[in-house]
Amino acid sequence: MPIIDIQKLTKTYRVYQKKEGLVASLRGLVKRQYRNVEAVSEIDLTVDQGEFVAFLGPNGAGKTTTLKMLSGVINPTSGTCSVMGHVPWKRENAFRRRMALVMGQKNQLWWDLPAQESFRLHQHIYGIDVKEFDRSLNELATMLNVEKLMGQPVRELSLGERMKMELIAALLHSPDVLFLDEPTIGLDVVAQHNIQNFLRHYQKERKITIILTSHYMKDVAALCKRVIIIAGGRIHHDGSLAGIVDRFGNEKIITLTLAENESFVGLERLALDVSIEPPKIKFRMARDEVAKTLSQLLSSRQVVDIVVEDPPLEEVIAQVFFEAEQSMNGSQAESTASRLEATSR
């Protein structure tokens, strides 16, 4: 049985539409125009126990909204969802004791006090046995290398250190399901790397279910086997990261190193995007032309080295987002217009 089961989950926000200018502001006092924005529309999804899933999508795609519904922060407009057999937005303690949500931009720790005070509070809130608490705090602190920072007020910690503390606070009660919303936002490369490593180890060891949203493709590539692309409130892809590249990356990037006295004449017209830095030549071309072009080149010139690679992940994903939004705009233009409604307050 899946640990998370989502059916036709929809969240619609009512947004106040104000035109520019003072007159419009005054008019807004009396009569307001609202527009219904569907942040998440009829999402179906199941996640099995022990999966590490990433939600990818452009800003405003509905990733965070979905995460909020799954963790019970907000109620959906319609649809059902079950997480560990509970309806999240009923906010039963039995549910809340078994999950955790970490938001990269929000603080759950007491700002003016050392993190250990917040942890102690968590021990009691979640009813963690003292021995168990000491053991897991010790373990987490060692893994994240923050033992020396326990006694320092949270406000004096760096962003990366604070994020580590947030993670500890979220994991002390050993949740079965962990939601991470942009856990590495604003962190430097080293800190990002530390957090990724930690999450990978922790998940492997504990076999907990983690859903993560992130803008950093590195996070996703390093951690998640399964990637769900959300754009415009809908799921556009559900599968492995490699699958996305297969499905959406139709081009290959080829780098050839030619023998020393080989001529580059004529090669600049080989493909659209050719850059020549002797003895190397780099170009990109459609996947199905690669074999033919290469065999021609190999027979006509002396080649020392060949590298054929996929375009950078970010580029592929950007392409997916773009296509997703294009298809949304086409089908939604009319329905959005019809949803514009005038209501007075």
Partner: protein, 293 residues
């Protein structure tokens, strides 16, 4: 003998509350200068009010009977009475005023920090109450010496002397209730932010009403009941229990059955606002859409 056993669930809860309480006290002690300054400013208010009333009573004395030795009496309050009143109201307010409570709640709602209480198995109102309790206790511990000193200096103003034990008990009960009333009233105000987001003007109105109708500045006995019975209207509102009522009990301005009815009414107001706060919380959370990321 039956062994007294506390259920593990309750024990767990008590431990949580205790830890929260302890952490709140620690948090309070972080900003020492702000704390000291706040305490000092509260004292300044009282001092200013005393000077104001001294000036008023002098003027009244000079205008009504320049020759008479008798102290002027403004609607049942001699100068001594009014100083005693001001000092007692200061005590009431030390219990009932909740600086920053409603704005704190509304800020948390607006910037999304309130999520914490939706995700974790803890109760917002319970936590805030414990936090307030902790802050108040710290405040009393620090302020008790200057308090005692001022009352020692001012003992001559309490003409009727120390009240009976009965009155004293009612006085203390009314103070405890005024703490709860102040807390839940302001909590309700803060929770309105679930609907309005911005409640600055509401808190301003509340502050004004509180200022005028709680007896904070002048005894409510001075509010006219003719030609329109404003006095009665004010009596029907919850504000007077925030400042006037405990002071009036101590000074014997209300006594006997009137005193007990007053206490009972105060109790009912507390219940009303507790229920109200719960309802607002539950409705508000349903409405909440997780603003701020």
């Amino acid at each position: 003998m039956i062994p007294i056993s506390i259920s593990p669930g309750l024990r767990q809860k008590c431990l949580t509350w205790w830890t929260f309480f302890r952490v709140s006290i620690e948090e309070r002690l972080v900003y020492r200068a702000d704390f000291a300054l706040g305490t000092l400013m509260r004292f300044m208010q009282v001092v200013i009010l005393i000077f104001l009333y001294a000036a008023i009573y002098e003027t009244v004395a000079a205008e009504t009977s320049p020759t008479s030795e008798e102290a002027p009496n403004i609607q049942g309050y001699t100068f001594h009475n009014i100083i005693a009143y001001v000092l007692l109201v200061y005590i009431s307010r030390a219990f009932s005023s909740m600086p920053g409570l409603s704005t704190g709640i509304s800020t948390q709602i607006r910037n999304g920090e309130i999520k914490k209480f939706l995700i974790q198995p803890v109760d917002l109102l319970g936590c805030l109450l414990l936090q307030r309790l902790a802050h108040k206790l710290v405040y009393y511990l620090i302020a008790i010496l200057p308090f005692a000193f001022v009352f020692f200096l001012a003992q001559g103003f309490f003409d009727a002397g120390w009240p009976t034990t009965e009155v004293l008990i009612v006085f203390i009960l009314s103070l405890v209730l005024s703490f709860l009333l102040g807390f839940y009233l302001e909590a309700c105000l803060g929770l309105i932010a679930f609907w309005f987001l911005e409640i600055t003007s509401l808190t301003f109105i509340y502050m004004l009403l509180n200022f005028m109708l709680s007896g904070h500045m002048f005894p409510l006995d001075w509010i006219p009941s003719e030609p329109i019975n404003f006095r009665y209207a004010v009596d029907c509102m919850p504000f007077k229990y925030l400042a006037y009522f405990p002071a009036a009990v101590f000074l014997g301005k209300v006594s006997g059955s009137e005193m007990y009815w007053g206490l009972f009414a105060e109790f009912l107001w507390v219940i009303f606002f507790i229920v109200m706060a719960r309802v607002l919380w539950h409705r508000g959370v349903k409405r909440y859409s997780g603003f701020g990321g």
